[in-house]
Symmetry: C2
Amino acid sequence: MKVKVFVQWLPFESVVMSSLTKIETIKEFGGYLNRYQHQSDICQCQMTFSVYLPPQAQREKVPVVYWLSGLTCTDDNVRTKAGAQRYAAELGIALVMPDTSPRGENVSDEPERYDLGKGAGFYVNATVEPWAQHYQMYDYVTRELPELVEAELPIVPGVKSITGHSMGGHGALICGLRESGAYRSVSAFSPICHPTICGWGEGCFGAYLGNDQKDWKQYDATELVKNGAEPIPLLIDQGTADEFLADQLHPKALLDACSERDFPIELRMQDGYDHSYHFISTFIGEHLAYHAKALKG
Amino acid sequence: MKVKVFVQWLPFESVVMSSLTKIETIKEFGGYLNRYQHQSDICQCQMTFSVYLPPQAQREKVPVVYWLSGLTCTDDNVRTKAGAQRYAAELGIALVMPDTSPRGENVSDEPERYDLGKGAGFYVNATVEPWAQHYQMYDYVTRELPELVEAELPIVPGVKSITGHSMGGHGALICGLRESGAYRSVSAFSPICHPTICGWGEGCFGAYLGNDQKDWKQYDATELVKNGAEPIPLLIDQGTADEFLADQLHPKALLDACSERDFPIELRMQDGYDHSYHFISTFIGEHLAYHAKALKG
């Protein structure tokens, strides 16, 4: 299916002028798990993403939860491993699952590193070359992708929530904290809560954003809370047996920043759980129910 | 954890003298997804399998469902993709997920073929070399593995059911049809119902069992029903959009054989579903509820 999007001239917003190609469709829980490709104006390359449309979407537009994935993932990991589609079908919500970086032969990469370049976009807008040309993932997930799916798919415009895992948990938090009013609810699994002080974040932010650490803070959930982000409740699940908890994730720093400001946060330390999709699968139902309540309330 | 199994001298049964090593444990839905290795006396090599122990197994022994996987799989596919652990936790049943063939450097293989050798044991006892030395998967899944898990893990002895997918659906059917009284219930997803007349079965059975097609029939569900297998209800889900339905699976042949004998079968043709784990995930909950009823009834 090749669909031309009608070009809308809006007074000040960016213009969606894309063409969405459905490259796969799989029936699941009475709905459809679809994979699409499109030319991204923002990332300047062909992007791939998946959408689960629940059975209800065959009759009416449904609200949507965005899932942002972690390091090394594509759109495929969550749709295969999280068990989320069952709950989405029960709740009548769509899931939109973008890729974690721009892709393609012309896109810069560091093949020796799993935490920089392809599969590791960190949901920032890079400002330093060779990354800046394609690595505009923040604008991609907050603007271009929502405009595209709302124009093309049976999704209620403007009614969205966001969640994700690890690097994608970080992504969900910064999107929710920066885009005041854009998301009905925000949650995260094992998020990188304070990337400017952990190895993963430091390694990437220096490459993507340059050496001025002031520029990093706009993509750091803890710093955003400290620096006056509009309050929105944050629901976070974190396993106590997570192998990255001590060095990379720093949920305590975010919790402390929230406490300082009386910022609403529920951080649930889940005893004995690790960083894997088995942890996600255990709690994704509760997160989707939480989002469905906000989306339909 | 290294556990020596106490050697039991039984009057006529095979002797379990194994040592079960737990190589991984992951918390999921309040229970534990464990992976074990052991030296298999029957397959003459190191075997790996996974077990999901639901939360109830921390207090008492639980009944078990065996899951047999399809071509190219290991024990990992189903535990990652099927979404089965949620239901197993709710129902209080263990899942045992064996590998699909013997493994190891010394085990014969056909690296050019995905449907013969490693990952393609077809749950038969091979009689022809070079396969016969290690490829004894029928005895492995029906005898050695149950004896081992019942001796070592919090699993109720002798109370088991079986299911599987594709090649593993074939495996579940033949185990249930041959081992009269051994399984409380039998089900399958997209099973190879009549392997002696399909390309997959012909290619493997000739290699593993030789050219005398009489020997093949003991591992063919349709032939077993025709030739007097003890009745046990068969629950089968089959997607109508399954890319292997026309050439490889032949559920109609099994249905006809069952009709001839008034053999109990429920074949559910599921509209629009394919051969993937997304299909399995949609119906695994119903299958596990079906087995739990039989196991606890």
